[in-house]
């Protein structure tokens, strides 16, 4: 400030040699008024700068330019030869570390290229806040939105009925009705001796096998002898296999049956017990 006052004094001192003496007085008065008005102005001011940017990264640099007027431009309105306005243009870059450009930005301190005490008037601190002066340099690798699933809708396949298993039902009797019936022999060692003897006596009565020649091989329970159409005894397994006739009955008798061998001729006879039976209703 004082430097420019000195410069003004210099100019004022030279004004004596100007061609129009009456004008010098007026000019001196005018200059004094202007200086007084300058002194009343705030030397430094805070100014708000609002900027907006769509994409900002921490590594971006914000290029700014500011023009600071020395205040003498006012004089040019009166006499452009008397004073020469000194506008200082500053260009600087600000590394963006943490900022929200949507809100108001306060400029607290300006680092100008040269240290000078310049009266800065609010209205002359012209910062070009237009988008062009900010010259936001956007990197070539512009961040792009990541393709999301909604951009490419996923096709949904429905397993539908295939997800639950279903079993088809077969109702044909043939698979089971064609199978023979099978009886396993009781363990002879678990039979009472009296029961064994009764079977051997039955063999003597029904097949004429003397008791001393009869050999008890197997005993089966609950054999529906009246319904049997085919019968086979497997000696080695002591198993009785039989099929039933298709005869329609409402009642039948199931007998205990023994396999008895005649030791004389080695023949095996199937001997149903005449008294060990039970009547069964088939209804």
């Amino acid at each position: 400030m004082w430097r420019h006052e000195e410069r003004l004094s210099y100019w004022l001192a030279r004004a004596k040699s100007l061609r129009k003496p009456g004008f010098a007085g007026w000019f001196r008065t005018r200059i004094a008024q202007e200086i007084l008005s300058l002194r009343r102005a705030q030397p430094v001011c805070e100014t708000s700068l609002s900027m907006s940017a769509e994409v900002v990264e921490h590594t971006d640099e914000l290029s700014l330019s500011a023009t600071v007027s020395d205040g003498l431009a006012i004089l040019l309105r009166h006499w452009d030869r008397l004073a020469e306005s000194k506008n200082v243009a500053g260009r600087f870059k600000i590394a963006i570390h943490d900022m929200d450009l949507v809100n108001k930005t306060d400029t607290r301190r300006l680092e100008l290229p040269e240290d000078s005490n310049i009266a800065v008037k609010r209205e002359e601190f012209a910062v070009s806040a237009s988008p062009q002066s900010l010259s936001m340099k956007i990197p070539a690798n512009t961040p792009r939105s990541v393709p999301c699933f909604s951009d490419h809708p996923v096709r949904v396949h429905s397993a539908g009925r295939n997800l639950s298993l279903h079993a088809k039902i077969g109702t044909v009797m043939k698979p089971i009705s064609d199978l023979p019936y099978m009886r396993l022999s009781l363990k002879l060692e678990n039979l009472k001796l009296s029961e064994k003897e009764t079977f051997l006596r039955e063999a003597g009565v029904l097949k004429n096998i003397p008791l001393e020649r009869a050999e008890l091989l197997a005993v089966f329970r609950h054999v529906p002898i009246e319904l049997i159409s085919r019968l086979r005894f497997l000696e080695e397994k002591r198993v009785l296999l039989f099929t039933l006739s298709e005869e329609s009955r409402t009642k039948t008798r199931i007998h205990d049956m023994a396999a008895v061998r005649d030791k004389a001729n080695k023949e095996i006879y199937m001997v149903p017990h005449r008294t060990q039976f039970r009547s069964v209703s088939l209804n």
């Binding site: 397993a159 295939n162 997800l163 298993l165 279903h166 079993a167 088809k168 039902i169 077969g170 109702t171 044909v172 009797m173 698979p175 089971i176 009705s177 199978l179 019936y181 099978m182 009886r183 396993l184 009781l186 678990n190 329970r221 609950h222 529906p224 319904l227 039933l244 006739s245 298709e246 005869e247 329609s248 009955r249 039948t252 199931i254 039970r278 069964v280 209703s281 088939l282 209804n283």
Partner: protein, 191 residues
């Protein structure tokens, strides 16, 4: 032999229900057989082989076997039963899957060889759902696993079993069902 079917909703003591399940390779199938009291078939229903796909195996995971066994096969068969047996008998392997079949209780049975000395009498309850039963006329013991833990129901089931054992070999139809299922599966191998 005439095949008799009763449409009555009342259980018939003359009718004996059987259920069997067969898993051979990837195929699973099951059947129910209802016989009269000498083992003659009255009703036979079976499922066609069910094969779970790779997706089924992934989606159902560890419950696939149970789902196939109980829901897909047993429950499906249960809805098809037209006769009215008191209870259903299954092989002892079935004991892990026992449940209600056509609103009837089930029991899994096997022959119990060489019963220990402390077993005596016709009914020996050894666990909440297990018992050893003596079939009086044949002097053989059976090991039973019940679908219910209700003791009175278990007693009723055992009495029913002993009653039918007087006229038939209660285990024999299980072999027939297994043979039938094996034939239906087109596989002669037994698992």
């Amino acid at each position: 032999m005439p095949m008799q079917e009763k449409q009555s909703g009342q259980p018939s003591t003359n009718q004996v229900g059987y259920f069997s399940y067969l898993k051979t390779g990837e195929k699973r199938l099951g059947a129910i057989l209802v016989t009269n009291q000498i083992g003659v078939p009255l009703e036979f229903k079976y499922t066609e082989p069910v094969v779970a796909s790779k997706l089924h195996k992934i989606l159902y995971g560890s419950v696939l076997e149970k789902y196939l066994h109980e829901t897909v096969i047993r429950d499906r068969l249960g809805r098809e039963v037209r006769t009215t047996p008191n209870f259903f008998i299954a092989p002892y392997d079935e004991k892990e899957f026992l449940g209600s079949l056509a609103d009837r209780e089930m029991m899994a049975i096997q022959k119990y060889i060489d019963p220990p000395g402390e077993i005596s009498g016709p009914f020996n309850r050894i666990r909440e759902r297990e018992a050893i039963v003596e079939l009086e006329e044949e002097s053989i013991f059976l090991r039973l696993s019940f679908s219910t833990s209700d003791e009175s129901t278990q007693h009723a089931m055992v009495e029913w079993l002993q009653e039918i054992a007087r006229t038939m070999d209660v285990l024999e139809p299980l072999d027939r069902i297994h043979s039938a299922l094996t034939n239906l599966c087109g596989d002669t191998k037994r698992d």
